[in-house]
Subunit: 212 residues, 2 copies
DNA sequence: CGATGTCTTGAAGCAGTTCAACCAGGGTGG
DNA sequence: CCACCCTGGTTGAACTGCTTCAAGACATCG
């Protein structure tokens, strides 16, 4: 967004710090506000009546969260980590968007990116093996937290094993087993179960099925 | 779209009839044109290097096809049935969109709908059983071709069993087996493998896992 | 009619789930 | 300071739902 957009927006926004697990908005509830992520990771989940759960998207800073032009949300947005967000009341942003094609254009672009990501993930869910799925997830996270170290890329996983399972369409046990397999194969190094080092992005990408 | 939009568009469009299996544009190819579906069904697929395939979306008339603001397509768009489309050159529509926030707004809205649909399907791929997936697919088609009959809703499947498998993340054999199971359970009636009758949408929805 | 592509059915195999036990870290309270 | 528990993670063994492989049925078309 441009500085002007942001200044305009700031008049209707409020900054919030929210803890892991907090719900930003719930599935089936009316939408009252949008938000921007300043720090942390949001997970977007869908829940079936019998409790089965699927994470349908992860969003990182400085992403926009919300579903314009709908009264009710079909998904739950929940803090995967401790985070900081900047909320905007729905009517305020809707008004701003109506008068500002440029803003709408930017949000449109983000929606298209999310659509590309969602479709990428559909391939992962529909056609990849458990090992490839876990590698795909690690690869996704690596692409967002690329703290380069002497031994490669190093990062903390923003998700629990349960969340990883819900994102990958697997059980927690399968995720765990595939993590140890990837560790034994030397594709990742694991310090304390949440802290991962990737010596070679290329090898990880290969394990994820993205290249032949 | 408004009549004015359409008139403007028509100056840069050409109508085409294309047969089943024809590629509208291919994965990894530069995007040269958009299109509107007048009749028939488009399948959007992603293919892995080793040949595994996933259909990431189905589009029906009068949907718009294309990925604005990208030079290259990440997916293949292919005719699932014989169809009629109306193509628009990319530069022409891009120009029109830049000068016409209303048009962009409409396309934005469609992208958001596609995003909702993609995320719905992620739940299907990640967490539903084979039976539920096949029922979900039939339910999806039923919602687009609701020719009401004396014995319920009746329609022709626009996809082969292979395509259904690629859409559902299943093999062709599993799709076939679940179709016969749904038939034996009285949830559908099948005339000639492509022609299906649904006596009760409610029972089908229940089998798809959407209600408890 | 054979020939070809699409669909169904059966039997065996296997990847991922389920169930259960165990382990590690990190509060908390006695 | 240690026993306690509690949450999150790992590992093992048995099971099962889907896949794989193989054969046969059905329809359409030259």
């Amino acid at each position: 967004m441009t500085a002007a957009d942001l200044t305009e927006l700031n008049r209707f926004t409020s900054r919030k710090v929210i803890p892991t697990g907090a719900e930003v908005h719930g599935q089936g509830e009316p939408i009252q506000a949008y938000a921007n992520i300043l720090r942390g990771v949001i997970k977007l989940t869908k829940i079936m009546a019998d409790g089965r759960q699927q994470i349908v998207g992860l969003q990182f800073a400085p992403h926009f969260i919300g579903r314009p032009f709908a009264d009710e949300s079909a998904i739950t947005a929940e803090a995967a980590t401790d985070m900081e967000i900047c909320t905007v009341s729905k009517p305020a942003l809707d008004r701003l968007m109506a008068n500002n094609p440029d803003l709408e254009h930017k949000l449109y672009n983000q929606a298209l990116t999310e659509l590309d990501e969602a479709r990428d993930w559909m391939l992962t869910l529909g056609r990849k093996t458990a090992r490839e799925r876990v590698a795909s997830f690690l690869n996704l996270i690596a692409s967002h937290f690329d703290t380069l170290n002497s031994d490669g890329i190093c990062f903390d996983l923003p998700l629990t094993r349960q969340d990883m399972g819900d994102f990958l369409g697997l059980t927690i046990e399968t995720v765990s087993r595939q993590m140890t397999r990837l560790r034994n194969d030397g594709i990742i190094k694991v310090a304390h179960s949440r802290c991962v080092t990737v010596p070679s992005r290329a090898r990880l990408a290969k394990a994820s099925g993205n290249h032949e």
